[in-house]
């Protein structure tokens, strides 16, 4: 049997142990598990929680949009139905039948004014004859007609306020089940259309009413009208497409862990671009809700000093007579601490001695692709002529889809040159984040459906994107965009 070398025997005896005893020198530091844990995949049930939040926001947004579109189309349908003359010769162009309640014939006049808001009642004999003649006929039946009129038999305008904006009304009956006199005060907008009503007596009913362009919710004794007599200048529902320039920065502030060099600068604004598509829904004459998708390229810059201690053990002579030495370094960046190797090159004659500190600096640009889901509210003010201005605020959930780091340069000092061989990331990219947004802009109305918009936006992450040791960093940025808004 071949005898093993004594050297081999010695080292095998001491080092080839599956379960060595724990001592200080052969045990990793306590904080190592924390670093490992941060890079391990998430638990199965926690995988991509942000994705589900994003999907939820989109579904909610689509649901709301669909509701608005449905209500809008219903309103259009009603307007259309009102414009159709009944086929029966027994009905005038102001009368129609409510199919769900054939014992009532009510006016179809949708053009309510302060003085003409009354309903003519057809005599009972006429109604019976009409129902008999049209038995089985569906020509005049449309399910949407049941929504078209309020259940008010009589309204009397009593007086107007001194400003002409308040009107007092008395409703004799407002419910199809309970006839209760209601005394109310109407508030009107500048166009004379009601936008709120406060009733002094309870109506004892709760219903959604559709009167042409007015949606009314009557609950107890208070009714709130949504007046759309003069549609929002920014259109009831519009799709906005835009693109523009962005500038982002994320200054790293705070103290770094002992042993790392200080970041000198990290607040330079880096220009990129963005594109977006959003929906805008007017909820009153001035207010709108806005949300959608936005793709943004973000560049973050940081600049650090590095100091390498010269160690002859790592020195090699290169073909061109220069000496090469490889040094390790660790610098902060927006995605965490980056470890790397700096290859120093210097003339042999320089006589660098062991322990001497060789200085350099490193410039890192991290580029990220971000998909944003903004949701906000905005207030618009029409100006004379075709212009209107607006301002708004909101939040955005930002999904960081991927990124990369670019090491721009290493400095040259005292005939030394440095180059970075590679950079090892402690974590691959910055985390997904939520940001506040504030915007202001102007619309130019090209025609009734199309607007041009010029807009600027400022944004800032709600929580820091970098939070290691004592260092914190928020992303903030500015966007300048040009877009087009098209009324759907």
């Amino acid at each position: 049997m071949k005898m093993r070398d004594p050297i081999e025997q010695i080292f095998q005896k001491y080092l080839k142990k599956q379960s060595p005893e724990k001592e200080g020198w052969n045990t990793p530091s306590d904080d190592l598990w924390g670093k490992i844990e941060s890079e391990l995949p998430l638990k199965n049930e926690d995988k991509r929680p942000g994705l589900w939040i994003g999907i939820g926001i989109i579904l909610l947004f689509l649901g709301l949009s669909a509701s608005f579109i449905w209500l809008y189309s219903l309103q259009k349908k009603l307007e259309y139905m009102h414009s159709i003359e009944p086929k029966s010769s027994l009905l005038t162009n102001e009368d129609t039948v409510q199919p769900n309640r054939k014992d009532k014939l009510i006016s179809s006049d949708n053009k309510r004014s302060a003085s003409s808001d009354r309903i003519s009642t057809i005599p009972r004999s006429t109604k019976k004859r009409f129902l008999k003649d049209n038995a089985g006929s569906k020509s005049y039946i449309d399910p949407t007609i049941s929504y078209q009129r309020p259940f008010v038999k009589k309204q009397i305008l009593r007086s107007a306020s001194s400003f002409g904006k308040l009107q007092e009304k008395e409703n004799c009956a407002i419910s199809d089940k309970v006839n209760t006199p209601t005394h109310s005060i109407m508030m009107h907008n500048r166009n004379g259309q009601p936008n709120a009503r406060i009733a002094t007596l309870p109506s004892l009913s709760t219903r959604l009413q559709s009167e042409g362009r007015d949606y009314a919710l009557t609950m107890g004794g208070i009714a709130v009208h949504k007046s759309t007599s003069k549609p929002n200048e920014l259109t009831p529902l519009s799709i906005i497409m835009y693109t523009g320039l962005s500038a982002s920065s994320a200054p790293i502030k705070g103290e770094m862990a002992q042993g790392y060099e200080r970041v000198l600068e990290s607040n330079k604004m880096m220009p990129t671009y963005h594109v977006g598509i959003e929906l805008l829904k007017g909820i009153s004459s001035h207010w709108s809700i806005r949300g959608g998708l936005n793709y943004l390229d973000v560049s973050l810059w940081s600049y650090s000093d590095i100091e390498a201690t010269y160690d002859p053990a790592s020195e090699q002579k290169s073909d061109n007579g220069m000496m090469k030495s490889t040094q390790r370094f660790s610098v902060p960046s927006h995605s965490g601490m980056r470890k790397g190797l700096a290859r120093l090159q210097y003339p042999q004659s320089m006589g660098v001695s062991k322990g001497e500190i060789i200085e350099g600096n490193i410039d890192i640009v991290e580029k990220y692709h971000i998909l944003k889901f903004p949701l906000g509210i905005q207030y618009a003010l029409p100006l004379p002529s075709r212009w209107s201005v607006y301002t708004g605020a909101g939040v955005s959930w930002n999904w960081v889809m991927g990124g990369r780091a670019i090491v721009r340069e290493m400095s040259i000092k005292n005939k030394q040159s440095m180059e970075v061989e590679a950079l090892q990331l402690t974590q691959p990219i910055i985390p997904n984040y939520i940001e506040w947004q504030g915007r202001a802009g102007a619309h130019y109305r090209m025609n009734s459906q199309t607007h041009l918009l010029l807009e600027t936006e400022i944004r800032r992450s709600v929580r820091p994107i970098l939070d290691i040791d004592q260092m914190k960093s928020h992303i903030f940025g500015y966007d300048l965009r040009l877009g087009v808004s098209y009324r759907i």
Partner: protein
């Protein structure tokens, strides 16, 4: 429950990305893994970097562990070695240059009693001070028990280079040991 069954249960939980189980597994094996990293690294800091990569590799490739083919210790040790070699290939330029023959000395003719005065920490330090090429071949051959053709394949060198690196590594270690004994 036997130790083996406990280990398998723990591994099963780790496969579900159970953090507690992963930490428990790490705590149980970290000393062995770290000792292995120390042998390949130049210093403690580098060893921790290697261990960090190695542990992530262990947990991400845990599915490939087959308990019928061997123990978890053996399998995980192999993953740690691979992680160490990968790390060194990436971050350290390997130089299989030779050292002067003057460095080659005879084996120190010492008694077992003197050898017994050695401790693992000193020996690990000696291995760490070897040039990278020597260190890798020495660890793979002497400690891990690989054959020269396996090492050559692993490190993408010739069998001759592997043998010469081992020979020179042992010579250098002999010299270091002798110096150590002289000081004692």
């Amino acid at each position: 429950m036997s130790k083996r069954k406990e280990d398998l249960k723990l591994i099963e939980a780790c496969l579900q990305n159970d953090r507690k189980a992963q930490k428990q597994l790490y705590e149980e094996h970290k000393t062995a893994w770290f000792l292995c990293c120390l042998r390949y690294a130049e210093d403690r800091m580098e060893a921790e970097d290697i261990l960090q990569n190695a542990v992530i590799s262990i947990f991400t490739s845990l599915k490939s562990f087959d308990p019928d083919k061997g123990t978890f210790s053996t399998w995980s040790n192999r993953v740690v070695i691979n992680a160490a070699l990968q790390f060194l290939r990436k971050w350290r330029p390997v130089d299989y240059r030779t050292v002067s023959e003057a460095e080659a000395l005879d084996y120190p003719d010492k008694s077992e009693t003197i050898y017994d005065r050695l401790n693992a920490q000193e020996l690990v330090r000696m291995v760490q001070q070897l040039p990278l090429g020597y260190r890798m071949v020495f660890n793979l051959y002497v400690i891990e028990g690989f054959k020269h053709h396996e090492i050559a394949e692993q490190l993408k060198i010739t069998i001759g280079t592997s043998k010469s690196q081992l020979f020179k590594a042992k010579k250098m270690l002999k010299k270091r040991l002798e110096l150590l004994f002289q000081n004692q």
